[in-house]
Amino acid sequence: MSATLLIDLALAFSVLAAALWTVAARRAFEAVVGFVAFGLVLSLAWVRLGTVDVALTEAAVGAGASGVLLLGATARLGAQTLAEVRDQPAMALRIATGFFCALLAVALGWTLLNLGDPAPSLAPLAAANLAATELGNPVSGVLLAWRALDTLLEAVVLVLAVIGVWSVAPDGAWGGIPGDIQPPRRDPALRLAAQIIPPIGVVIGVHLVWTGAEAPGGAFQGGTVLAAMWVLAWMAGLVRPPAVSSRRLRVWVILGPIVFIAIGLLGSFLADGFLAYPAAFTKPLILLVEAALTFSIAVALVLLLVGPPKAAP
């Protein structure tokens, strides 16, 4: 008992230390490294709390994809970091910000300490009805059957994010290849890494999606891993993304939400309502939605990581 307590204490301390340091970091690059470290420790903490699904998402999306996304933003901001330090907000604004943040923290802590016992939860209800979805993982069941609308909207948000990134492209570059125009890198170590890691990563990504029906995993985590592998090959100069004007690329981005909505509409004719599954085909339909979502999430994340087009086609 004391050993686990020690580990948990060390974890809690590490999470707090990483979070504090990320906020206090002077430069954006330091903050990003701190944020990645924070995500890593946090996913360990989630595992200790027994929520492997959340840990997996945190490791893939929080520490992996967001870290690299922020890193790209840091590189693009460049010298503007200095201006940010120079134009500090007024003292009153800073005090007010600190005060309201502290107020929020106190309110959250107070709520946590005064939770009912047992805490209000729909978990037993979800677990009891899990058999109806033929899924083994209650989290997937909730995300794709009972709260399918939330998942659908999350997938749509990614499409909107891609549109947002593309819309900041300069007029002349519209329709071009997304991302910086990169000279082919003659870095043997990087090329080797980009040739060895992606095959393994693709297998792991597909495994995460497939296993999501029975165990922690799912479209978002698997899609993130797949996207990371493609971006790795892109950074090594091995592959080039298709032009923004490519119709095929756009179809890939919207495929997941479209399939999801189509099956949802089908449900309103054959089953109880929008996003309800006909009882006999619940599991095949869920797997179909997961697969389509995975491709769209992966493509959308790649486009987000690569950035808007910079040069004319």
Binding site: A37, L40, S43, L44, V47, A59, G217, T224, M229, V231
Partner: protein, 74 residues
């Protein structure tokens, strides 16, 4: 677990960006080891999946860091 904490300390202190990056990698490796130990200790095979994805993404992040470190961009 101690490696993770020691690595965290290095991330926080590291005088140069390269130090921070290396420490972040050490942290990743230590985190994977900790996850595998936890998987065995808690008897939950799914944690291995988390360790797997972490290992792939740690390699990915290290490449991204290496390319982003100022002054090394070619």
């Amino acid at each position: 677990m101690l490696t993770v904490v020691a690595g965290l300390w290095r991330v926080l202190r590291g005088p140069t960006d390269a130090d921070r990056m290396m420490a972040a990698q050490l942290l990743g490796t230590g985190g994977i080891a900790a996850l595998l130990l936890l998987a065995a200790g808690m008897g939950n095979g799914a944690i291995v999946d988390a360790a797997l994805s972490l290992s792939v993404l740690a390699a990915f992040a290290s490449v991204a860091f290496a390319l982003a470190v100022p002054g090394r961009r070619r």
